[in-house]
């Protein structure tokens, strides 16, 4: 019947199919499981080379953190007045990236966006890995990381003191750890049926055992599906506000303070938009690579990517609007400190950071107004990269330029990163990529059960279409 479709381009226009190319259930299973079931040693060399590179960077991260803990925060460029610099910049950056995953899964699921199915798995995985990278910084930026457990509401016998629930940092601890946990649950729940699929196809004892355990004895019973779908829907339902809450709370770290440039109510929506923006950019970067390296052209279609471009255009513009509003309010408030802070951002010693941010986040994404740009893989790849750069700079600008010149001119300062700062950040990128590569190789990158669901629906539709056609 797929032949019919190929012959009738009109149908493509009327109802372009999300999973084209006559995919049948078994083909889907084969294609996706195939990646995992292939002989480990038969995996293309380029994969191992990439993995060893990222692994090397990961080792660098380990070295930097060891040096940091052994020596003190002094190995970074932080100083007085700039108590936070690259550490928290990186934290917010990674948390931001971690937003698209669950968001794509949850919100798009609630809105029944079928095109989600081909990207949600890797997006969710990306979330987890990004959160892992983010988590490193709040932990290691403390002067005494070995005391970091004091941040959790554990009765510590050392001094019977509790946490201060007025502190945004405590809110952060709860928000980020909750987000990490829930995202993991969400991701794993989604994986269960696929794990079962791989278990049932397993040809080696090892795989049989590993996936047998992971699949928890899933057998696709209708009763199971009933509870499963209900649970998944609920997870999606609570994850959506969760996603929004996490970056809102991260933005409280700044909004709740008294520092000009931080103390502003616009932060929650502004941060969330920024997070989605950067998150989608990162998903896009990864999908483009995955699509190209694993030949998933049929599963990750141009349409998927174009939709993401549209979302980036929207969120990018929201972020740009936020920048403008900030500036306006700073002027409108009549507060001299506020005014100074924002002028200082744009024209002070850190002007270069500010204008990098503006051009990467606001100007460049405007190219997505043009369909040619939205559908050109190279263009969207480059823009996804510049967006990530821009979003990193956004956090740097907010944190460092606000701190380096606050109320008393006597205690103004300037921040210069050290090589340790740089290597630590690079290291987290290594961690992220390593985890992602391992995931891409050893777990189903695309939700088979969901894709099959879409295939089934398509078949229905086209049965209908044929009748009409005849």
């Amino acid at each position: 019947m797929s032949v019919v479709v190929e012959q009738d381009p009109a149908l493509l226009v009327v109802n372009p199919r999300l999973v084209p190319g006559g995919q049948d259930y078994h083909d889907v299973t084969n294609k996706i499981s195939g990646i995992i079931e292939g002989e480990v040693f038969k995996t293309p060399m380029k994969y191992w080379i990439t993995l060893s590179v990222t692994g090397g960077i990961l080792v660098l991260l380990g070295a930097m953190l060891t040096y940091l803990v052994a020596t003190g925060i002094g190995v970074w460029g932080n100083n007085r007045p700039i108590g936070w610099a690259w550490d928290i910049t990186n934290f917010v950056f990674w948390i931001g990236i971690g937003h698209a995953g669950t968001l794509i899964s949850a919100i798009l699921f609630l809105f029944r966006q079928k095109w989600r199915t081909s990207i949600n798995r890797s997006a969710e995985a990306m979330t987890l890995f990004a959160v892992a990278c983010a988590g490193i910084f709040p932990l290691f930026h403390t002067g005494r990381p070995w005391r970091a457990y004091w941040l959790f509401p554990i009765w510590n016998s050392d001094l019977n003191l509790w946490q201060n629930f007025r502190s945004p940092l405590i809110w952060d601890v709860f928000a980020v750890s909750t987000y990490g946990t829930v995202s993991a649950l969400f991701w794993f729940t989604g994986l269960i049926p696929d794990l079962a699929t791989i278990r049932d196809r397993a040809t080696t004892k090892v795989r049989q055992w590993v996936f047998g355990v992971l699949a928890l004895g899933w057998r696709g019973s209708a009763r199971h599906w009933r509870n499963y779908e209900a649970a998944y829907l609920i997870l999606a339902g609570i994850s959506t506000p969760l996603v929004l809450s996490v970056h809102t709370i991260v933005s409280f770290d700044f909004a709740v303070s008294v520092i000009p440039g931080w103390h502003t109510t616009i932060f929650p929506p502004y941060f969330v938009a920024g997070a989605i923006f950067s998150g989608f950019a990162c998903v896009m970067t990864l999908l483009v690579i995955a699509r190209w390296s694993l030949n998933l052209h049929d599963l990750i279609t141009i349409k998927h990517l174009e939709n993401m471009c549209k979302i980036m255009l929207v969120t990018g513009s929201i972020v740009g609007y936020a920048y403008g509003t900030e500036f306006f309010i700073a002027w409108y408030s009549g507060n001299g400190y506020e005014r100074f802070t924002f002028l200082n951002r744009a024209f002070g010693p850190y002007y270069w950071a500010y204008w990098t941010m503006i051009s990467c986040n606001v100007l460049i994404p405007q190219l997505f107004w043009f369909k040619r740009m939205r559908t050109s893989i190279p263009v969207m790849f480059v823009i996804s990269i510049t967006t990530n750069i821009g979003m990193w700079f956004e956090r740097f600008v907010i944190i460092v330029t606000s701190l380096h010149r606050d109320f008393l001119p006597s205690s103004w300062g300037y921040f210069r990163p050290t090589w340790v700062d740089m290597c630590t950040f690079t290291g987290t990128i290594g961690l992220f990529l390593t985890l992602f590569l391992l995931f891409a190789r050893f777990l189903p990158m695309i939700a088979m059960s969901e894709v099959k669901g879409v295939v089934a629906d398509e078949k229905h539709k086209f049965k209908g279409q044929e009748l009409v056609a005849r």
Binding site: Y25, W171, F174, T197, D200, I249
Partner: protein, 199 residues
Amino acid sequence: MNTTQGITTSGDFAEIKERLGIGADKVYGVIGAFSEPDELVKAGRKIKEMGYTKLDAMTPFAVHGIDDALGIPYSKIGWIVISIGLCGTATALLLIWWVGAINYPLVIGGKPLFDFTFSIPVTFELTVLFSAFAAVLGMLGLNGLPRLYHPSLRYSHSHRATDDRFLLVIEADDPKFDALQSVEHLKSVGAAAVEVVEG
């Protein structure tokens, strides 16, 4: 695979049965396979009309309509989640209040010892956390997972149920169940590879 009076039954599970202590005489049910979800749904509806009540299906993805077709009740998971979620809310508020106002009252930044305003974020997060666990663990619990073994796995093509086949099951404890008839019934609604599966 051994044949008795023309009925194919799956076998070779002696030692498994040994281990799991399952009576050799017990029958789990009859299973037949379909290759398209809508066929499964149609068949399911027919079988139900024949008066079967203990039906199940095994599908690679959630097939819409199968629940009504087989008369599978609504999931109770929602109630579990909401109650546990509210426990999360309570936990958070109690923790913040007890810690700040009772156990270790400290004046911090001239703010009250306890106040809803600064309790909101943590309360929300704990509610979500509890709910999420409730949803996942509740789902597994209701599904009786994780489990190591299930009789339906004896069906020769059970592994296709997670790939590209849609299985319809008439369970043995259905009052109307009769191995011979049920096999015929399944065949009649177009099921392929029908087998009586031992329990």
